[in-house]
């Protein structure tokens, strides 16, 4: 192997990534041998990350020992200032750019914070109707994926590093002969796509190759059971007084959840919600949505259809008859009460059917909505936003059949990872081997890429130009925040090249599409107007406006009635309601029900290498780093699984056999799960995810069936007798009569305004202290958290991680309860575990107590009170006695027991927020109320002379919160929102009977129960 050959392999790599790239390139034995010869001493050490560190340590130690007693001198590093300063960049001041994150084909609009050319934090786009300023967990964590050192860095062709040019040449060679036969044997496998420009390219490709086929596979977002719903619904929860969710996690799942949470909680949050809405949830396992319900019924997934049918019958929907037995409680109590309530709120009620329920349930929900006058007010039905919506399970099954038949000889896979995620009944792997030319485009060199002849490293969306549509149809432009770190390419570029448009960048292609759209030359007729409804004068004005705002206002389903059909290839029958047909074979479902759910954060495994998501406690169960199967306490008893735990410990592993396929997965007793149901979470057990996600958890995709991908009967579940350690951040879910979360009924609160206060123990008087009360002359920061709005989605936790450079500690450390999150979401259940009340969520950041127990006990005064009321933590001064943590009644202080921060990986250094100190080993840390943001506002106040207004400062957790549950502000400003909230009778301090006088207070949860169901 010659140097020139290696050079050509490494062509296109930048100097900074050189060493890491050698590691990548060194995958071939010859190359490794070459490297070892080239650097004879310690070269093998350098190939092995662990060995390299050891080597550096030894070198460092011997150097240090050699220089004991001498002054250490920093190695000279030249810092070169900008020769020509880029316009608008002020060092130390971030810039914000609008962009959008595609997830399952749907875009979530974002504002990206950019520090000196590095995106560090993502916020929601406040103007965009799909965000209104909030984001979700996945968007917050996606910035870490951008800097993931394990992302694919090169194009690989048949095991060797190749250039972009050689890939294009190979594609021309592959497609050339196909131009004559209409593209027979050519297949495209993608995730759902809503991008107008990409859809146009696919359309062009399918026109050039009429025999080619486009398949879609997304195990999370693109799979339906029992046929696709013909139309997509757009809900207006802010107008709904009564909401019924049929196995629908509309506030916890999918890109629409951000806006829906905002709309739904708008009826619950604030000083005193006049008319709180009422939410009924019928679902098999607790979800984020279920935890905000006023009434929640645990029902097997298969019983949702009969339940919906019976309800439809009760509401007078024609042709809907109960098709199965229902539990007594559902039939005798729930149905009459629900039907009466829905009828009573005609025009202000809505029924929501979940994604995992079959089309028949969606049809029933639509029929009920029409019967109760919801359509047009609380819900509108329109064309799906993603182009060519197909049932992914059927689509991939078709592809496997074709591959097995030998009719596929070229397969282009984009983004999705079917080798890992394909349903177990298909044996995708065996069929895949029969395809002669396999090409993979993706962020990671994953399980599928490993088996493909070609792999192209895709650009992350923060490195790409493009467009995407939000769930309401709004078109957003994706603009890059950084040049591709690893020279990745976009799908748009690849498709354009396949279509013969070579040499154009993604920017050119995106701009070209929208230039044509402006001229009305695209197949989809776009109405392009700004937020005021004004047409644009020039293409350039349109482009600048769309880039600046991040979206085109006139395309929103919320504001415009005439939406263009998403893609030319589909004929939509959306405007007519389909008949409420029964699901294919409900009678066949007997025995223990198996329900498949994606992991809420890892999804199908695509986020497996994201340490933030791995360590984020999953909503309700609070598990980290693993997937489990939820079972109810009764089922656990039947299986011999212990129901109670005193701490993190071994969990029983279940053996699950379904349709002859077997898998094992740890059991997790989750109160609120229906009996005789096992809820299997997939997405774990990746083999080629990277340093974080490989070999973590249990792979259960083998169990999944393409015919019933979400739920089915007939699973055989047994306790294997083995144990598996699960690291959970919370192990006690009972409140023990202490009322950390105070809950009142709305009627009770009306009768007795002191109802919330009375739930707590007696508060000691503030004047008990010997010290005089400090008057805060300037600002006096405080926070109020509305538990009535909080859904427990945990976006605040991950936003805090991103903002405050919080390290990932790993499963073994979480198992020792040493996770570093500055804000956590506590979850409590009440009542009988078999039929629990709850879950109730409570985000707990530092309470910034006025009489902080941590401050007095610190021997070195490393935690002190500021003159604005903050409980400051001085990292430099901390010696780490941990006394403050012991004495904190809220246990919100986190200690660096080991060196948790990664000081080594250069990619991760670029991600960090430069405004926040990186904490090292042996130091205590905690929530600061995002003091860096307060300081930014203070600097602005000094330079501009404009006093800080209420709302100028938003903490990271507040900014991300889709429910607007967290409000931060100045307690000295009588008109601020936080003062207004704290003045309500719902306001209470957590553990205020201890006399700590917390700055962060909570607004009690208010239930709005139906008297008929009490």
């Amino acid at each position: 192997m010659t140097l020139s050959a290696i050079r050509s392999r490494l062509a296109g790599l930048e100097g900074r990534s050189y060493w890491r790239s050698l590691d990548e390139a060194a995958d071939t034995p010859e190359f490794r041998a070459y490297v070892e010869r080239e650097f004879p001493e310690q070269a093998s050490e350098f190939n092995d990350p662990a060995g390299r560190r050891q080597f550096l340590k030894l070198m460092g130690a011997s150097l240090a020992l050699a220089g004991v007693g001498a002054c250490t001198r920093q190695p000279p590093e030249k810092i070169v200032p900008y020769v020509r300063q880029p316009e608008e960049i002020i060092p130390g001041r971030p810039l914000f750019f609008a962009t959008a994150m595609p997830q399952g084909g749907i875009g979530l609009p974002l504002l990206a914070e950019n520090h000196m050319g590095r995106p560090t934090k993502l916020e929601g786009n406040p103007e965009h109707p799909a965000s209104l300023g909030a984001t979700d967990v996945l968007a917050q964590a996606s910035v870490l994926t951008l800097y993931d050192p394990d992302r694919s860095r090169t194009i690989i062709g048949r095991g060797e590093v190749k250039t972009w040019g050689s890939f294009l040449a190979a594609m021309q060679l592959l497609l050339g002969p196909k131009r004559s036969n209409g593209g027979a044997g050519l297949r495209l496998l993608t995730e759902p796509i809503s991008s107008p420009s990409v859809l146009e390219q696919i359309d062009a490709l399918l026109t050039t190759f009429p025999q080619a086929k486009w398949h879609q596979w997304d195990p999370v977002y693109g799979v339906v059971q029992g046929g696709s719903a013909a139309s997509s619904a757009l809900y207006r929860f802010e107008k709904a007084d009564v909401v019924l969710a049929l196995d629908a996690d509309f506030m916890g799942f999918g890109p629409a959840s951000v806006r829906y949470t905002k709309d739904f909680t708008s009826r619950r949050r604030g000083a005193n919600p006049e008319h709180p809405n009422r939410l009924y949830v019928v679902e098999p396992t607790p979800t984020v949505t279920g935890s905000t319900a006023d009434h929640r019924l645990a029902l097997k997934a298969r019983d949702i259809y009969p339940f919906a049918a019976a309800l439809a019958g009760a509401l007078g929907v024609a042709g809907a008859a109960p098709a199965g037995e229902l539990p007594e409680e559902a039939r005798a109590k729930w149905l009459p009460a629900l039907a009466a309530d829905l009828r009573a709120h005609r025009g202000a009620a809505v029924v929501v059917a979940g994604e995992s329920q079959p089309a028949a349930v969606h049809a029933l929900a639509r029929a009920i909505n029409e019967a109760i006058g919801a359509v047009g007010t609380t819900v509108t039905y329109g064309a799906p936003v993603v182009g060519s919506p197909v049932d992914g399970a059927a689509s991939i099954a078709q592809l496997v059949a074709d591959m097995n038949a030998g009719s596929v000889d070229a397969l282009l896979i984009v983004g999705t990872n079917p080798i890992f995620t394909a349903p177990g009944d298909l044996d995708f792997r065996a069929a895949f081997d029969k395809v002669a030319n396999r090409v993979h485009v993706g962020l990671y060199h994953d399980e599928t890429a490993e088996l493909c002849h070609w792999h192209v490293n895709e650009a992350h969306y923060l490195e790409s130009w493009g467009d995407v549509r939000a769930f309401d149809g709004t078109v957003s432009l994706i603009q890059p925040l950084i040049a591709p770190l690893y020279d990745g390419h976009t799908l748009l570029e690849i498709l354009a090249n396949l279509n013969g448009t070579s040499g154009q960048s993604s920017l050119d292609l995106t701009k070209a599409y929208w230039t044509r759209a402006f001229g009305g030359q695209t197949k989809t007729a776009w109405t392009l107007r700004d937020a005021k409804g004004q047409a644009f004068t020039t293409v350039d004005a349109f482009w600048r406006h769309a880039l600046h705002d991040g979206f085109v206002a006139s395309t929103s389903g919320f504001t415009s009635t005439s939406q263009p059909a998403a893609a030319s290839t589909t004929a939509s029958a959306a405007q007519t309601a389909p008949a409420a047909a029964a699901p294919a074979a409900p009678a066949a479902m007997t025995g223990t029900e198996i329900i498949f759910r994606p992991d809420p954060y890892i999804l199908d495994g695509r986020n497996a290498n994201n340490g933030w998501l791995q360590e984020l406690p999953k909503p309700i169960s609070k598990i980290t780093w693993d997937n489990v199967a939820f079972i109810s306490p009764r089922t656990a008893e039947r299986l011999g699984v212990p129901v109670t735990r005193s701490g993190n410990q071994n969990q029983a592993v279940l053996s699950i056999s379904y349709q002859g396929r077997k898998a094992s997965i740890p059991a997790w007793v989750q109160p609120g799960t229906a009996d005789d149901v096992v809820v299997v979470h997939f997405g774990y057990g990746r083999k080629r995810a990277g340093r974080v996600g490989s070999n973590v958890g249990h792979d259960v995709f083998g169990l999944r069936s393409s015919r019933a991908p979400w739920f089915d009967g007939g699973a055989e579940v047994s306790n294997s007798g083995e144990g598996y350690y699960i690291a959970s951040t919370q192990n006690h879910f009972a409140m023990e009569g202490r009322h950390p979360v105070r809950i009142v009924d709305v009627e009770e609160l009306k009768k007795n305004p002191k109802a919330v206060e009375e739930q707590g123990a007696e508060k000691p008087p503030a004047a008990l202290s010997l010290y005089p009360v400090y008057e805060y002359p300037h600002h006096k920061w405080g926070m109020a958290i509305d538990l009535n709005a909080c859904t427990g989605c945990s976006a605040c936790v991950i936003a805090c991680v991103a903002e405050n450079n919080i390290p990932v500690v790993g499963k073994s450390q979480v198992a020792r309860t040493r996770e570093m999150h500055w804000i956590r979401v506590d979850t409590y259940f009440g009542g009988d575990p078999a039929k629990p009340d709850g879950p109730h969520h409570q985000p707990v950041p530092c309470q910034q107590c006025e009489n902080a127990p941590c401050e007095v006990v610190c021997p070195v005064a490393a935690t002190v009170h500021s003159d604005e009321g903050l409980n400051d933590m001085v990292y430099n001064r901390c010696v780490g006695t941990r006394y403050c943590s012991n004495n904190c009644p809220y246990k919100v202080r986190r200690f660096n027991f080991l060196l948790y921060q990664d000081f080594v990986t250069p990619e991760l250094m670029a991600q960090r927020n430069p405004d926040v100190t990186i904490r090292s080993r042996g130091v205590m840390e905690k929530c600061t109320y995002c003091v860096q943001r307060i300081n930014h506002a203070r600097i602005d106040e000094k330079t501009t002379g404009r006093a800080i207004q209420d709302g100028d400062i938003k903490t990271a957790c507040q900014q991300v919160c889709p429910a607007d549950a967290i409000v931060f502000g100045d307690l000295n400003d009588p008109k601020s929102r936080v003062v207004e909230l704290k003045a309500t009778e719902r306001n209470y301090g957590l553990l205020d009977d201890l006399g700590t006088r917390p700055r962060t207070t909570y607004l009690a949860k208010v239930r709005n129960p139906n008297p008929a169901l009490e």
Partner: protein, 469 residues
């Protein structure tokens, strides 16, 4: 009361503090012979070897601790303190008997203390050394904690936080350590002079001569010595009470149920004396056999110490009862929960019952005179107390922390191998120092033993009785 004041064979007559038949010369020869000899008991080698091995384990575990961080231990959130502070409080408690014996019993003129005060003081020093290790190494950044906790003028113009009990700890422990060392050394001076005079090797002569600070035994020397010793005894006496009081403030000042209790200072002091006497007995029993000093550490000593142990043990048990009563009587839900969790509810309830067996049930054997004079029984009881006092701190620290206010933060604590190695290592350090001490310095005060001989000193109160003159 002397034995002669009772009729012959009266059961009330105390046993002698020194076996009959000794003269000043024979005492001096016997006690100097233990040190100034080339024949070391085989058992000494054995114990010292084992102790040294444990000490090496300590150095390994501390080196690893400094390299990696506190995370090698089992401490977590919410159990921020565990073995580290348990061991600290345990050792500092053990360190209480020495000063109590030397100072308070001296002031009360308990002459039987003479045989045991020297090595009890040494034990105090070594226990304080073991204890002082923990507050330093248990911090996240000991290289800063080692001096930032002291008030000294500095470029940061920053004082430590005088409100923090940990700062009080620093003052209490350093004061106690230095006064104890001074007291011990002053008491050694006459004996060091004896060694200087009796040592054959010129090097040893020089060394002991240097340490004896020119002691010649003149009347003026003796006068100054007695004055200094008495003053130091007076200075040490309040320290015996203050150190553990301050240590108990670490807990009592905090808000944690199970820590936040006003009974803690007296209860901790009683516990410390209890633990200290148990440890003195644990050491005295084998040492008197090993070095054949049964004539000097007699059954009288063992019995007296057993009695003090029993009394202080009962005070400690009274403390437990008070804690339980006030937990219930407060009516506070956190306190009541703590009580239930500690006694029967919680996952660590076993430790509470084990503690009661060790500290309450087993020591009741000492009520019996027969058992009190049965040396193996006394030894076993003392071992129970040593374990029990460690468990007491486990119950206070771990059991209180693992279930505090918010159920969401309740977690379990499990020690790691490094926790055990550190605990065993300090025992190794303690025993190594102790055994080196008995081999190279007089473990029993020679000159004071001589005063115990009949007729060595004028009888107190002889005038009133119109006796000897």
């Amino acid at each position: 009361m002397e034995a002669s004041q009772f009729p012959k064979d009266d059961f009330r007559a105390p046993l002698p503090v020194i076996a009959p038949g000794y003269t000043s010369r024979s005492i001096t020869e016997k006690l100097t012979g233990i040190v100034l000899t080339k024949h070391t008991p085989v058992a000494w080698f054995f114990v010292t070897a084992v102790a040294f091995m444990l000490l090496m384990g300590l150095t390994v575990s501390l080196a690893y601790l400094l390299a990696k961080g506190i995370g090698i231990w089992g401490n977590n959130v919410p159990v921020g303190w565990a073995f580290d502070i348990i061991n600290f409080v345990w050792w500092i408690g053990i360190g209480h008997a020495g000063t109590l014996i030397s100072a308070i019993l001296l002031l009360f003129k308990q002459d039987w203390r003479t045989s045991i005060n020297r090595f009890a003081e040494a034990m105090t020093l070594f226990a304080v050394a073991c204890a002082a290790l923990f507050p330093l190494v248990h911090t996240g950044r000991p290289w800063l904690a080692i001096y930032w906790l002291f008030p000294y003028p500095n470029a940061m113009t920053l004082w430590p936080n005088f409100k923090s009990p940990l700062i009080w700890d620093v003052f209490a422990v350093t004061t106690y350590g230095s006064v104890s060392a001074l007291f011990w050394f002053v008491g050694l001076i006459p004996d060091l002079a004896t060694f200087r005079d009796r040592a054959a090797h010129p090097g040893l002569k020089k060394l002991f001569g240097f340490l004896a600070l020119g002691w010649r035994g003149s009347a003026r020397h003796w006068f100054r010595y007695e004055t200094a010793y008495l003053l130091l005894a007076g200075l040490s006496t309040p320290l015996v009470l203050s150190v553990h009081t301050v240590v108990s403030f670490d807990f009592a000042v905090s808000v944690i149920p199970g820590w936040h209790a006003t009974i803690f200072p007296p209860y901790f002091v009683a516990g410390a004396i209890y633990a200290g006497f148990a440890m003195v007995l644990t050491l005295a029993i084998p040492l008197r056999v090993m070095f054949k000093v049964e004539d000097f550490i007699t059954m009288r000593h063992i019995e007296n110490m057993a009695k003090i142990t029993l009394v202080t043990g009962l005070v400690v048990v009274y403390g437990y009862a008070c804690e339980a009563f006030f937990g219930w009587y407060s009516g506070n839900e956190y306190e009541r929960f703590m009580l239930k969790n500690r006694t029967y509810f919680g996952p660590y309830a076993w430790s509470y019952w084990l503690l009661l067996i060790c500290n309450f049930i087993v020591p009741q054997l000492l009520w019996s005179k027969r058992l009190r004079r049965n040396i193996p029984i006394v030894f076993v009881v003392c071992m129970f107390i040593n374990v029990g006092m460690w468990l007491e701190r486990f119950v206070i620290i771990v059991t209180s922390l693992h279930r505090d206010f918010l159920p969401s933060s309740w977690q379990m604590y499990y020690p790691t191998i490094w926790d055990f190695m550190t605990l065993a290592g300090t025992i190794g350090l303690f025993l190594t120092l102790m055994f080196l001490f008995v081999r190279v310095l007089p473990m029993i005060s020679i000159f004071e033993m001589r005063t115990l001989l009949p007729g060595a000193a004028p009888k107190h109160g002889a005038d009133e009785k119109g006796g000897v003159h």
